[in-house]
């Protein structure tokens, strides 16, 4: 139906001018898009660069703490030989015991690679608590050691019988590369230690190279779109932009209608968007922190993130489900691209999602969870969730046209979905062998991603980004496919 039916010369000129204006805005749009991309990719590097470069790994022995090593007096040297499991070592923790008394003096901990001293730290033993790990932070992370044989040497210059600490040993020799030496002579067992380290995943320059390649591809595609517009050829990108330009206003109107009418005639109005997740969280918090005890740290925040995301999923899919059937009177009377209905429904409930982020952030602050720059990554998981929900709404709304049972079936399925997603229980209670099945659940990835950035305050590993993108794009494409196949028949069925 596109094209121009030009009748009078005046109209011709007007249209020509209009076309010119349009092209300028398209070029502008492309430039803005590329600049945004550059800003975002650099920003992402600053927020999550650390996690992109390395992955945190813990290398620890099984500390069953079977026997103490004996009093660490002057002259006694404990030496633990092991093969480094991580690329970088940040800190090392050793389990000391104090014989339940106050000791004085110092203990020296050294790490050697062959004869090279990598780290040396002298610790004051008076601050030690009995049977607990003492963490020694490396001033400079020890780098590039993976696979090398390292030695941890512990001795005391001041220890005397009756005034010294000791170390716990595990009787088991956990790994073949581990060897314990007492004054140079091999003995059974392993020192009870843990190493906090990192594995290098990606070099900074790799990240920027990848980002640049992607950026160049986008530039080329932008050029193609501009070229297509000039010559009037068709390409997907251009039709998406034109559709947005043409139906953006309609979409805006539909979204604002849904949102305005949702709370119309209720006393508290929009406030319900705040109250709903807060009240649900309060109820579930009371239930799960008193009746069913869970040992999740920071449970309130953990729970609320799950609830906010799942509520959005359930609300938007339930609204999207009725998108086609509920707008039957419009669809049979006016030509509107039908995809606009599910999309507008999901977008109007995502306004709700954004509003309910506010009480969530308030709870985050009340529980004094540290807010870090990683929170800037939250839009990513929100966007992924929205895309996923649009895909689901496409599938559900077209299924609904053919079988009205879908709505009843969906209420059961979404309940099942809620229990299959770790919202109020820790993911550790899921049976290990069923884990692959649970990881098929897109919501699991979005919620885990959000929890990671809010509770742990750090970006998840790069793999998590990939999973989130896959978990949103695949259902979206499936939805588009189903919707496209069925939409021509909608008018006949509703």
């Amino acid at each position: 139906m596109a094209g121009c039916g030009c009748q009078v010369p005046g109209r011709d000129r007007r249209k020509a001018k209009h076309m010119r204006e349009k092209r300028i805005t398209l070029v502008h749009g492309c430039v803005i898009f590329i600049i945004l991309y550059i800003i975002l990719s650099v920003g992402l590097y600053f927020i999550a660069g650390e996690e992109f470069r390395c992955k945190r790994v813990q290398d620890s022995t099984s500390c069953e703490t079977d026997v103490p090593a004996g009093e660490l007096t002057k002259g006694l040297i404990l030496e633990q030989v092991f093969e480094a499991q991580t690329d970088i070592i940040d800190s090392i923790s050793i389990k000391f015991a104090t014989y339940a008394r106050q000791n004085s003096g110092t203990v020296c901990v050294q790490i050697f690679s062959d004869e090279e001293l990598l780290m040396e730290k002298i610790l004051d033993v008076s601050g030690f608590t009995d049977n607990s790990f003492v963490t020694i932070q490396c001033e400079e992370p020890i780098t590039n050691v993976k696979g090398e044989t390292l030695r941890i040497i512990v001795f005391s210059e001041t220890g005397t019988p009756g005034n010294s600490v000791t170390l716990w040993l595990s009787k088991h020799q956990a790994r073949p590369d581990q060897k314990l030496l007492l004054n140079g002579a091999a003995v059974d067992g392993t020192l009870c230690y843990a190493i906090e380290g990192r594995d290098v995943l990606l070099q900074g320059k790799d990240y920027f190279a990848a980002a640049a390649v992607l950026g160049i591809l986008m530039c080329l595609y932008c050029l193609r779109i501009i070229h297509c517009e000039k010559t009037g050829k068709k390409c997907i990108g251009l039709s998406v932009i034109l559709a947005f330009r043409k139906y953006g206003f309609l979409l805006k109107q539909l979204v604002s209608r849904d949102f305005k009418t949702k709370y119309k005639r209720s006393v508290l109005g929009v406030l319900w968007s705040f109250l709903n997740p807060l009240l649900t969280m309060t109820v579930q918090y009371i239930v799960f922190s008193t009746i069913f005890k869970t040992d999740i740290p920071n449970f309130a925040v953990y729970l609320l993130i799950g609830i906010v995301f799942f509520n959005f999923f359930s609300e938007s899919t339930n609204m999207g489900l009725m998108a086609i059937v509920g707008n039957a009177s419009l669809i049979t009377k006016v030509y509107i691209p039908k995809y606009i209905f599910p999309v507008s429904r999901v977008l109007s409930s995502s306004i709700n999602l954004l509003i309910s982020m506010v009480p969530m952030l308030i709870v985050v602050m009340i529980t004094s969870t540290r807010i870090t720059k990683a929170i800037l990554l939250l839009p990513f998981s929100i966007a992924c969730t929205i895309v996923f929900c649009i895909g689901m709404s496409f599938i559900l709304s077209s299924a609904m046209v053919y079988f009205r049972d879908t709505q009843f079936l969906w209420s059961v399925v979404s309940m099942l979905w809620m229990y299959a997603t770790p919202i109020f229980y820790p993911e550790t209670i899921l049976p290990q062998r069923l884990m692959p099945l649970f990881k098929m659940n897109p919501l699991y990835h979005f919620i885990r991603f959000s929890r990671e950035i809010i509770i742990a305050g750090a970006s998840p590993e790069p793999k998590a980004y990939l999973f989130c993108i896959i978990a949103s794009v695949v259902p979206f494409l499936a939805g588009v496919f189903v919707f496209k196949k069925t939409q021509d028949k909608f008018v006949l069925k509703i």
Binding site: G5, L250, V334
Partner: protein, 240 residues
């Protein structure tokens, strides 16, 4: 310009419309899924030149509305194709998508966007719409409080504020009290007279004679006759 080439529309009628999975399964297992085909339109071809006013006449159930829906893009024809040049405004129903909880002002934007108007166009024409609908002080009242006459006036004003290249009209929409009826009729005639291509369905032969250049007579989904207004109308009158 409108070019309709060989358009056919097939409806499938099941005797009781199956809408649930259970009914479907039961019917499927009983092998009672009997479909009946019904051709609402069969092999329709015609062209409307730019600026021409084409009338469509026929009895109830002849396929007039189906044809209009296919041309406006609401229905996809089973066979054949429709080519259009220019922006098209189908006026098949007034007030599509009105939301009764919203105010008149909000509904002007909602309904206008559904009819495909741009934001700039609506903002520019807003005062004209309100003035034509004679609603000035009620514009910020939720339309559930409107009288039916006010609703129709508002809907009519939004629908006819356009400057379309192609206009599709299902009966002259004369609404409201006597004064508004003549006002709205004048507006319609003005719209249809201004060099636009018009497809016009009506049962009122006098109106057809008044404004149409050519007329198509549809009967049971086929074109029975097409030609000069006078000729076709006379033949149609004889028949019925």
């Amino acid at each position: 310009m409108i070019k309709v080439s060989n358009v056919s529309m097939k409806y499938i009628i099941t005797h009781d419309s199956i809408q649930s999975l259970k009914e479907f399964t039961v019917a499927f297992l009983k092998r009672k899924l009997v479909y009946e085909e019904f051709w609402a339109l069969k092999g329709i071809s015609f062209e409307v030149e730019k600026g021409e006013v084409m009338g469509i006449i026929g009895r109830n159930g002849a396929g007039k509305s189906t044809l209009l829906k296919i041309i406006s893009g609401i229905l996809k024809p089973t066979e054949g194709s429709v080519q259009l040049k220019g922006n098209i405004v189908p006026m098949l129903e007034l007030g599509s998508g009105f939301d009764y909880d919203l105010t008149g002002r909000e509904n002007i934007f909602l309904n206008g966007s559904i009819l495909g108007y741009s934001e700039r166009f609506l903002k520019g024409k807003f005062d004209e719409i309100v003035e034509f609908a004679e609603l000035d002080k009620f514009i910020d009242v939720p339309i559930r409080n409107y009288s039916s006459g006010m609703l129709m006036r508002l809907a009519f004003s939004i629908a006819t504020v356009v400057e379309p290249d192609i206009l599709i009209v299902d009966e002259i929409l004369a609404v409201g009290d006597e004064a508004f009826q003549s006002k709205s009729k004048a507006r319609m005639l003005e719209l249809m007279g201004g060099g636009t291509t018009v497809l016009f369905v009506s049962h009122n032969l006098d109106q057809i004679r008044e404004i149409c250049n050519r007329v198509i007579w549809l009967d049971e989904g086929k074109i029975k006759m097409t030609g000069e207004t006078q000729q076709v109308c006379d033949a149609y009158r004889l028949q019925s």
